[in-house]
Amino acid sequence: MGAIIIGAMLTTYYIGIHYFTPEMLIVVLGTTTIVLLIVGHTIVASFERIAQANRMKSEFVSIVSHQLRTPLSSLRWSLDLLRGGRLGEVNKKQEEYLNIVNESNNRMIDLVNDLLNVNRIEEGRFEIKPEMFSIESLSEEVIEELRPIANKSGVVINLYKDKNIPSTYADPNRIRMVVENLIDNAIKYSKKDIKDKFINVGLKQEKDEIRFSVEDNGIGIPAILQKQVFGKFFRGDNLIKQKVEGTGLGLFIAKGIINLSGGEIGFKSTEGQGSTFWFTLPIKK
């Protein structure tokens, strides 16, 4: 900032020396200095304000999220006791409402967890702990875990994989989050009115990478919205005019995780026909 002020003053001086008397030059230089100091101060202050606002936003999200997790945990465990009939018999109607409270509570926990993760990714504080692990076993586990939910929506999940998929070097817990998110999205955004609904999960080795993909014949994403897919709070539910649960943060977090793991993430989608989401991960350390 100082250099800019001195530079501007020297320029004013060299130009001014040809046009002004020495007395006028002093007034011009004085005025220039004051104007520059005011402008400079305002710019620096506004940068500081933006930086401070960002810090405050992050701290706010972090504190609120942490503070929310304790009462949400209390709520969850108290509900576990009630729903499990450990505090006395629960009748059908009560059970129905307890389940509603439980679902809502779980959604809040998911949202708080997602917000914390988004905050960490944006601040460069998202931690990963890479190790060699089998993405094949991980994918199989996640598929089995989500199969009952898929069945409810009438979606069949298949796994197509190369023989001998090598281990990959990444954080298995974080990659699990991504795999769950991609398959879960494919289930959520399946079409309602067709018979043969499928999700094809693929695992391939390509040179030094593993390529994981999830192909579906769901509703697809309109071309106009495709640029926003990995942004925050992107949600597909306004597209299909039906309510789909979710925070709209999953793909933003997925992209953050895959980038931190040294891989790439992307998708191909045609509205009305389906989408294929994929990511790659390095095989070696």
């Binding site: 304790t70 009462p71 465990w77 499990g84 450990r86 926990i109």
Partner: protein, 121 residues
């Protein structure tokens, strides 16, 4: 009857965990801060400690360290039950000698009970 000490500063969590563990046939003690926790550990010699990390007076890491540095107490299993989830926190607690590290928001009460039973086997 096996004795469990739950060191946790949130009374509502203490109540819920205390309820289920009592129903499962354990004798449950609770402490609302780290100092009181250590005092009860020495006095009651529980079979297992459930330990939160963010605690008044003395935090969970210090409590854990003191348990593991004490010849008489060092074999006592300690399950960390917290909402702190930094990799650094997990590693620190495990390297100090915690048996298991559970993040409250991610576990149902039955999962917590199962972990306790598993550890006490």
């Amino acid at each position: 009857m096996k004795k469990i000490l739950f060191v946790e500063d949130e009374p509502t969590l203490q109540k819920a965990v205390g309820e289920i563990l009592t129903q499962e046939g354990f004798r449950v003690f609770s402490a609302l801060d780290g100092e009181k926790g250590l005092e009860l550990i020495k006095k009651e010699n529980p079979d297992l400690v459930l330990l939160d990390l963010i605690l008044p007076k003395k935090d969970g890491f210090e409590v854990l360290k003191e348990i593991k540095e004490n010849e008489k107490l060092k074999d006592m299993p300690v399950i960390v039950l917290t909402n702190l989830e930094g990799i650094g926190d997990v590693e620190k607690a495990l390297s100090l000698g915690a048996t298991t590290y559970l993040i409250k928001a991610n576990y149902e009460l039955d999962d917590v009970v199962n972990k306790i039973k598993e550890t006490l086997k």
